[in-house]
């Protein structure tokens, strides 16, 4: 298929950016979206132009490195996938595809489609851990049974890949789905409950400091999340925060 791409080009964090049009031809429906971008870049390099910078790494939907806001949706039109797993069979010959970086105050653009998601790391530094040293003599893993239900729910929350689609999809640029998932994973496990109070307070404080907005229960984040992280996690985070403050 032949496509027109409208892509955000921005030289670096300081420069102003703009949308630029490109044409790509003979795109196979079996290609992934990023393979289509590879074709464009190869074309640009061969004609002496600078390729489009974009983040990507594992290309199997788990590292969370790839981003892109495609036709107004984080990770594009398919559900439950990251951009690297989005396939060109979702598009038709002659389509015009608009490709922007994730847009949020807390995610400044570094170049073209690459944004800085360091804010997510800093939120995790604030409390995204259980304080246990590597000693080699922690108790036996089976000495504390955990209900399958709780373990499975913790796992569902822990599935978050930290890509930032929730922030990009939110009209308030809220990071609450991300933070809620992390708070939930630990709150659901007995190992995490000891520090639960400080954790939720510190992580939420850091989240606010980074300039993310608040949640107004629109639910776009849940729809666009490539890993299906549930809004329940935001509710659980709010409950944990209320518990922590009283």
């Amino acid at each position: 298929m032949n496509l027109t791409l409208k892509i955000w080009r921005q030289k670096d964090a300081q420069s102003k950016g703009k949308m630029v049009d490109y044409k790509v031809t003979e795109i196979s429906e079996h290609m992934s979206f990023l393979e289509m971008m590879d074709v464009l870049n190869e074309q640009l390099i061969n004609s002496g132009e600078e390729p489009v910078a974009f983040d990507h790494d594992c290309r199997e939907g788990i590292c969370g490195m790839c981003s892109m806001y495609i036709n107004g949706e984080a990770h594009g039109p398919d559900r439950g996938v990251t951009t690297c797993q989005l396939h060109m069979r979702m598009f038709k010959d002659g389509d015009t595809i608009t490709i922007e970086p994730f847009r949020a105050k807390a995610f400044p653009v570094l170049k073209d489609l690459v944004v800085d998601r360091g804010a997510f790391d800093r939120i995790q530094h604030a409390g995204g851990y259980i304080s246990v040293n590597t000693s080699g003599n922690t108790q036996d893993a089976n000495s504390l049974p955990i209900s399958k239900h709780a373990a499975d729910e913790a796992m569902d929350a822990a599935t978050c890949i930290g890509c930032g689609a929730c922030v990009a999809s939110c009209k308030n640029s809220s990071a609450m789905l991300f933070v809620g998932a992390k708070v939930s994973q630990y709150a659901l496990l007995p190992q995490g409950q000891i520090e639960a109070t400080d954790r939720v307070k510190n992580m939420v404080a850091q989240m606010d400091l980074e300039g993310f907005g608040n949640c107004t229960n629109t639910g776009a984040c849940e729809i666009e999340c490539p890993k299906g992280i549930s809004l329940d996690n935001i509710a659980r985070m709010n409950r944990e925060l209320l518990k922590a403050n009283f």
Binding site: D12, S28, M31, S32, E35, D38, V39, E42, I45, N46, G48, E49, E50, P51, D55, D57, C58, R59, E60, I62, C63, M65, D78, G80, Q85, H87, L110, R117, G118, F120, D121, H125, A126, G128, Y129, I130, S131, N133, T134, G136, N137, T138, Q139, A141, N142, L144, P145, S147, K148, A151, D152, M155, A158, T159, I161, G162, Q185, Y186, L189, Q191
Partner: protein, 671 residues
Amino acid sequence: MSVLDSKVPKGPLKDKWTDYKNHIDLVNPANKRNIDVIVVGTGLAGGSAAATLAELGYNVKTFCYQDSPRRAHSIAAQGGINAAKNYQGDGDSTYRLFYDTVKGGDYRSREANVYRLAEVSANIIDQCVAQGVPFARDYGGLLDNRSFGGVLVSRTFYAKGQTGQQLLLGAYSAMNRQIARGKITPYNRHEMLDVVKVDGKARGIIARNLVTGEIERHSAHAVVIASGGYGNVYFLSTNAMGSNATAAWKIHKKGAFFANPCYTQIHPTCIPRSGDYQSKLTLMSESLRNDGRIWVPKNMEDVIAIREGKKKPTDLSEDERDYYLERRYPAFGNLVPRDVASRAAKERCDAGYGVNATGEAVYLDFASAIQRYGKEQAKIHNITNASADKIYELGAAIVKAKYGNLFQMYEKIVDQDPYKTPMMIYPAVHYTMGGVWVDYNLMTTVDGLYCIGEANFSDHGANRLGASALMQGLADGYFVLPYTIGDYLSNEIRTGKIPTDTPEFDAAEKEVTEKINFFVNNKGTHSVDYYHKKLGNIMWEKCGMSRNSTGLKEAMVEIKALREDFYKNVSVPGNANEFNSELEKAGRVADFLELGELFAKDALEREESCGGHFREESVEIDGEQEGEAKRNDKDFAFVSAWEYKGEPGEAVLHKEELEFNEIELKQRSYK
């Protein structure tokens, strides 16, 4: 005598590690505060090492090319992590895990290292659970296990099909705690481009800030390389796009020997390639072989009908299918080790039985498992006379709970529903057992320079068993390196801060800068990917699943010629002092173009078949094992450690003879 000293402690195998820990020198807590350690790579090995070293009190700097340590490619490991817990009471033990790993590695690993790995494996699970890793559990609340290839027990712990992700997030959380305390300084979007040696010791690195392009100097009392494997030398592999050998290759050029580069794991269950534009291959976890049965049609007419779309795989009756692994290896069936399963798939496809348009695919079928689970569930839920649809529904739900994310991934890529029709799979490059040579302390042949995880060569011999990479990465990082590095650093307490304004740092930085300037000024005619794909093609065709002397000799010549062409004609757009993905790739591919040649040379010199290294000249010609790989213990029971001498083709071979005192060398039989 060999220049290689493995430094394996004396004494009985089972006491070596305990005795060693009792007798090493320690560094007191006050002195640890004055000692700096650099860790390059933040996957399971690097992340766990960085966190543990920081907990101990050292000042740690971590480097990763991704935008966050959490994105290292360990995150993509799916199936699980082994540990000799014997929670299932099925006869597992430290010894059995040790034995399976040495046997699975085709007797080409160091006994003492592997025993230590098995010994610390149980602690890893305890540690991860304490960190909040949500492993799968049974209804009683205890940890669940599954089985992997090459073993007869269930010792694999897992978190759905995302075990690597959960373990890495565990290590990352441990890092976060130390970052918050100021004990780890993370340098994300940074790439190490050389190691700096002072008086023969590793004293720092030169790194490039990938956002600004700035070249930075970082000093330390010891440097740890945990940068992963070199599978991307094949261009197409299951590795991440950015996975590279640059850190490992740069230290090789500065004196660290490179061991067994030809030991590469071609994983049997990956999604087949679909076209020339393909940028990477996707693994379908080996855990699927617990429940999936691998087959091709028995009759050529059916193969042709399927390729032409006239028949569907589900149209074929049981006796029209060739479950070739069950046929050839009745004892292990679909759970033979990876190298055996991959070669068997290639054998069927080479014979013309491949089931897709390219002829390079076999089926992995879950219909039997769905039936089996469905009937079991019907019984559990007291459903008598369950309809076929009900049984299917109940069975599919169990399969979904076990492998749901893998099935979803498959469906998104291939556009077929694996609950309804068998998956198509084909082998792909997945893991590299070879790597930087290290002694028992995980130190390379350069003082103060360590190498851990997939980047080193140490524990998997010529073939790695499933779910053992996660085990090794975390064992090295959490439980081995923190002891062994202390023994070395105990001699550094009077050294003081290492300055970076020295001639050694000047020289290393100059070399790095010149190379970068060369690339951006070359203005050639071909992209970096053009060369990477060409290299990958040579590697796959001539150094792939089966190798022979003629092909390997050709590969060496072709890779050298390709490298020369690369330096003449490569084109790298953009500048040095900016975010420049093409420049990053150029440096990595330049190193692969050297590594590939050494790879071929190593494969050529090893005139035996062992593990992932299959030489067509070395097969069993008769008897029960006819056609199977033939190892040659008399002439090749050694580690090939290569010393760099200016050109990869001129590397000098040093042999570390492997001694087997606990395990008798046998031909691996999975029949």
